[in-house]
């Protein structure tokens, strides 16, 4: 049995080590203004689905089948093979407002924080990318994503993958804009630095208050790289209701960051009890 002094020394040392380690383990922050972003102007979207087609071609799934091209056609949801699509189900019963859906590329993504093996990564440039060779297939990212973006390759028996928009990280590395943005004929999609796009969004709202009423993506779940401006309230555009402005990973981090203290506290408590119950070398009844 260790002496009492050693016991407290060990406790104090580990507490200090934990405090030091917590500083080391602090989340690397992505620059919210300097990272890449896209401004989606829904008032300019005509629902032509050119972005959907370009995305499929770039991801290697082939162009949209001809029969599916048309206003409102298609299966109308994200899937492993559909990383983006135009959602026509929004804006109330009369108005069919087309809304482009894809990964929002959160500044502090829930999917990245929950992945146990770091198969998902928020790169400093902006995109949230998936490293498929690391993935173990736990599907926690699919559950955790507030926008329900990651999808699964359910029919692959051996090496199923998660499918999500990767913001064309490879094209961005070559100074090209994402495939969907490049294909947009009306300028509804604008690629740039997030800070500049946010300023422009606010400028559009200020200068044309009749045309624009809402910005989405500035604060929601800590901010997203994709920012939407429109004349419709975000809830009516089919964005999930009730999301906090606090980044979701911080909800979990509040619990995880306390674990070192639980380890030290429970460890010291139990050692003390063992000492107490075996003092004087006697078994207590």
């Amino acid at each position: 049995m260790i002496s009492r002094r050693k016991f407290f020394q060990a406790g104090a040392t580990s507490a200090l080590a934990v405090l030091g380690a917590r500083r080391l383990f602090a989340e690397p922050q992505v620059d919210p203004n300097g990272c890449a972003g896209v401004l989606v102007d829904l008032t300019r979207c005509i629902g032509c689905r050119a972005c959907e087609n370009a995305c499929r071609v770039r991801a290697g799934f082939g162009p949209l089948p001809t029969a599916a091209i048309g206003y409102g056609a298609g299966d109308g949801k994200l899937s492993f093979h559909t990383r983006t699509f135009i959602d026509f189900r929004n804006g109330g019963p009369k108005l069919k407002q087309p809304v482009k859906r894809q990964c929002m590329h959160c500044l502090e993504p829930a999917c990245v924080s929950v992945c146990p093996v770091a198969a998902l990564e928020k790169t400093a440039a902006g995109p949230v990318v998936y490293h498929e060779n690391i993935c173990i297939g736990c599907r926690y990212c699919i559950l955790a994503c507030p926008f329900s973006v990651p999808k699964y390759e359910w029919d692959n028996a051996l090496m199923p993958r998660v499918g999500k928009c990767d913001f064309c990280a490879d094209r961005q590395a070559k100074d090209q804009s994402p495939a969907c943005v490049a294909s947009c004929p009306t300028g509804a999609l604008k690629f740039g630095k997030r800070g500049g796009l946010l300023q422009e969004a606010k400028a559009r709202l200020d200068s044309q208050p009749n045309r624009y009423t809402s910005i989405y993506g500035e604060d929601i779940v800590g901010g997203t790289s994709w920012i939407y401006v429109s004349d419709t309230a975000p809830e009516e555009l089919g964005f999930p209701p009730g999301l906090p402005n606090e980044p979701l990973p911080s909800l979990t981090w509040k619990a995880i960051s306390k674990l070192p203290f639980v380890v030290i506290g429970v460890g010291l408590m139990l050692s003390a009890i063992v000492r107490w119950r075996t003092r004087n070398g006697m078994e207590q009844p």
């Binding site: 770091a118 173990i136 599907r139 926690y140 955790a144 692959n156 906090p244 909800l251 979990t252 995880i256």
Partner: protein, 428 residues
């Protein structure tokens, strides 16, 4: 494609036959190497053989065809009852760390006899739910070892996977003496005894961590989990209910095993556990009610009928034992302790199912119900646990303890001196 189907049919046949023979062998060993004579025994044999046969079919199909083909999981509802089984099994296994804590840390002599059966049950429950169910559930089950090398300390699941790995080691150390005594390797057994106390302390720490972390798993889905269950206090609730379920599981397992194998057991062992469980249960229920009231979440009992019903059943199951235990003239009887343990075990398991399944349905807009293959796999994993436990009780010195009059399991060496936890770590 035809060729593939032919191969699949072959594999399925082999799998079914192998599992059925394994079931037959297990039954034969369980009934003392004899074939059944009574009708009820024949029925039991058939039940297990059919169940494991179906399990063989289910497992081969899952590994050959993938998750999409055999489960009702979808992009809307990515976690099904296999993940829920992980939560349930680990909560059930809490009895192991609790009993080890009572014996090795608090050194309460009364609980020494139930240590081995409860630790074994916890070990099996742990292995089959955490490792077994995950090997079926993970999309890339062959990469289950990845968290050892790929670290991501922000992930609750990363932390849980480490806790599972480390705690499996701890349980092995706690469980090792049973096997070592049977083999007669006394020196190794004595060495394991000397390192047990630090390992038990680690085990309690690890259990505290990951029992609460299983609750933290769901902190990330504030909009998907119904407010009846979603609360920032989830980790605390999961830990408390695991502790309560630990008491109940210790009662449940020790009562069942000591009665089934006709071993003597002091009544006060069970009733003391039931009494220990009660204040924790009161605290837990008070916190749940206070938390629901503070968050104004009671409306959801009426807003979502299915969830409201499941919530009500869960709360009733956890309240019921209070009435049983608080009646003092009942609490002296161990059958009432047993009667109090069953609703608690069921209630905690229902709580885990509610958090991982029922409570997620409304917001995800899903109508997930497990496929027959998912259910068969769950029943199989549970039955593996029961069968292995039965075999261990028959062939290992599970009831071996100086305090209970030295019963020797059949086949054990007669002059073997069992080493009790008293001699642990040289404190005597």
């Amino acid at each position: 494609m035809n060729e593939f189907n032919w191969i699949l049919a072959l594999f399925r046949t082999v799998g079914v036959l192998a599992m059925m023979s394994a079931a037959g062998l297990a039954c034969w060993l369980l009934s003392d190497r004899q074939f059944p004579k009574r009708v009820s025994a024949v029925f039991g044999w058939l039940l297990l053989i059919v169940l494991w046969g179906l399990g063989g079919y289910a497992l081969i199909s899952r590994y050959a065809l993938g998750l999409g083909a055999v489960t009702n999981l979808s992009d809307q509802f990515p976690w099904g009852i296999w993940k829920a089984l992980v939560l349930c099994g680990i909560a059930f296994a809490a009895g192991g760390f609790l009993t080890a804590c009572l014996v090795y840390i608090f050194r309460i002599r009364m609980f020494y006899p139930i240590l081995r059966p409860v630790v074994l049950a916890a070990y099996l429950s742990y292995m089959l739910s955490a490792s077994g169910a995950l090997l079926v559930d993970l999309g890339r089950y062959h990469q289950i070892w990845r968290p050892i090398f790929y670290w991501q300390h922000h992930s609750v699941l990363f932390e849980i996977s480490w806790c599972v790995m480390l705690y499996t080691g701890v349980l092995s150390v706690e469980f090792a003496p049973i096997v070592l005594d049977r083999l007669g390797w006394m020196r190794v057994s004595r060495f394991v005894h000397t390192i047990t106390v630090p390992f038990v302390i680690c085990g309690v720490i690890l259990s505290t961590l990951h029992q609460s972390s299983l609750g933290s798993l769901f902190l990330i889905v504030p909009t998907k989990l119904l407010p009846l269950w979603y609360t920032p206090l989830l980790p605390i609730f999961f830990f408390l209910s695991a502790l309560i379920s630990g008491f109940a599981m210790a009662i449940f397992v020790s009562a069942l095993t000591f009665w089934t194998f006709r071993q003597p057991l002091e009544p006060r062992v069970l009733t003391s556990l039931a009494k220990g469980m009660t204040p924790l249960l009161l605290v837990y229920l008070f916190l749940r009610v206070a938390d629901l009231t503070a968050r104004n979440a009671w409306v959801y009992v009426f807003r979502c009928p299915l969830q409201g019903l499941m919530f009500t059943i869960e709360m009733l199951l956890l309240t019921l034992p209070l009435f049983v235990v608080l009646k003092t003239r009942w609490s002296g009887r161990r059958r009432w302790a047993f009667a109090a343990a069953i609703p608690v075990v069921t209630g905690v398991i229902l709580n885990r199912l509610n958090v991982a399944w029922i409570g997620l349905l409304p917001a995800t807009g899903s109508h997930y119900f497990p496929s027959w293959i998912e259910i068969t796999v769950v029943l199989n994993l549970v039955s593996f646990g029961v069968v292995i436990f039965g075999l261990a009780a028959r062939y290992l010195p599970l009831f071996e303890h100086p305090d209970i009059g030295g019963h020797h399991a059949p086949g054990a060496t007669a002059d073997m001196t069992a080493i009790g936890p008293l001699e642990v770590s040289g404190h005597v």
